[in-house]
């Protein structure tokens, strides 16, 4: 009994690292890679591309998957074969940086515009609340209520709530 237990423990000890290694290596399939790389000849994502060149690119990826390469290794191999343009995300240097810079610049421009315009919008209704004839001006510039109408409205509301 003790011997069996020892053999079982030894087997478990031997198999555990192998199991952990298998678990640590994520399974990669073509679909998982295709949406993150480009068809270099047509300039669209590989998962939407059709034709001889994208098929050739897929064959290359299948070959690397069969060799047990990880996703990162496959992407590195694709860059080595086809250049940086094969990656769906643009480069972080040269002209590619505009893909990151333009949205940031747009966001900054919107924030600056809001920072300038919002205080102005908030000031405008406050200044116009009381009309020259004593009328109450509704924010947004629509015609206001006279003081008599406002008093009647208050009375109606009080009656309604009472």
């Amino acid at each position: 009994m003790r011997r069996r237990l020892a053999v079982a423990t030894l087997l478990l000890a031997l198999l555990a690292p192998a199991g952990a290694a298998i678990a640590a290596t994520p399974k990669v399939d073509l679909v998982d890679i295709e949406d993150e790389v480009m068809c270099v000849d047509c300039g669209i994502p590989l998962n939407t591309a059709e034709g001889a060149q994208p098929d050739s690119e897929r064959d290359f990826i299948r070959g690397l998957i069969a060799q047990g390469k990880t996703k990162q290794q496959i992407k590195r191999a694709l860059v080595a074969e086809y250049g940086e343009d094969v990656l769906a995300l643009p480069e972080t240097s040269g002209v590619g940086i505009t893909a990151y810079a333009v949205p940031i610049a747009l966001a900054v421009a919107v924030i600056v515009a809001l920072a300038l315009l919002v205080p102005r919008w908030r000031r405008r209704p406050a200044a116009g609340m009381a009309g020259a004839d004593g009328a109450v001006v509704i924010p947004g510039g629509s015609p206001g209520l006279s003081q008599a109408d406002a008093a009647r409205l208050d009375e109606d509301l009080a009656r309604y709530e009472g």
């Binding site: 270099v40 074969e81 300038l116 315009l117």
Partner: protein
């Protein structure tokens, strides 16, 4: 002053976006300046880059072949017309190398090394083949599809160009021009 700031910002952003769009369109348009120069008889200098040789650790460039006639051919294993012209190029290479006059120089286009190697083996291509990773050299020749062939004379000038599948008569005519 403050009143002008927002329209000015909007104008800058709009001009930036229009500029990017223009750049995108221009960078994708076909560059036929080499054909135009050849047609005028200007014979432009052949662009060159040091590139790795397929199936070897060596590198090679068009400039290093100055003094020889070079038939520069952009091809890919996935390109169907390239299969038809491969034997024509091989015959031209054997003719040029036998006389010592020059060489055919293949350049792969958006192709993987294993696929290019298989194609080269299948069609018995004995001429040197360069790997143009990222198509940087192709761009300098205005090449955006394959096959395309440029014939370069001993002085390193492009004397003939064909964008598409070549035939024997093109090679004969272009080589006669390059050797003249």
């Amino acid at each position: 002053m403050k009143r002008l700031l927002v329209p000015a910002l909007a104008a800058v952003v709009a001009f930036g976006l229009v500029g990017l769009l223009a750049y995108g369109l221009l960078s994708r348009s076909t560059d036929d300046s080499i054909e135009q120069a050849v047609a005028r008889g200007d014979f432009p200098r052949a662009p060159s880059a040091v590139l790795p040789v397929l199936g070897s650790d060596a590198t090679q460039s068009v400039a290093a072949l100055r003094g020889k006639v070079v038939v520069l051919n952009f091809w890919a294993s996935w390109c169907i017309p390239c299969r038809t012209e491969a034997p024509i190029l091989e015959r031209a290479h054997r003719r040029l190398s036998a006389s010592g006059a020059g060489t055919v120089l293949g350049v792969t286009y958006n192709d993987s090394t294993p696929a290019s190697q298989r194609f080269s083996d299948k069609y018995d291509m004995s001429f040197p083949i360069l790997r143009d990773v990222g198509t940087k050299l192709a761009e300098r020749y205005g090449t955006s599809r394959v096959p395309e062939t440029f014939v370069i004379d001993r002085r390193g000038r492009i004397v003939d160009v064909f964008r598409g599948q070549i035939d024997q008569s093109f090679i004969d005519r272009a080589l006669a021009k390059a050797r003249a």
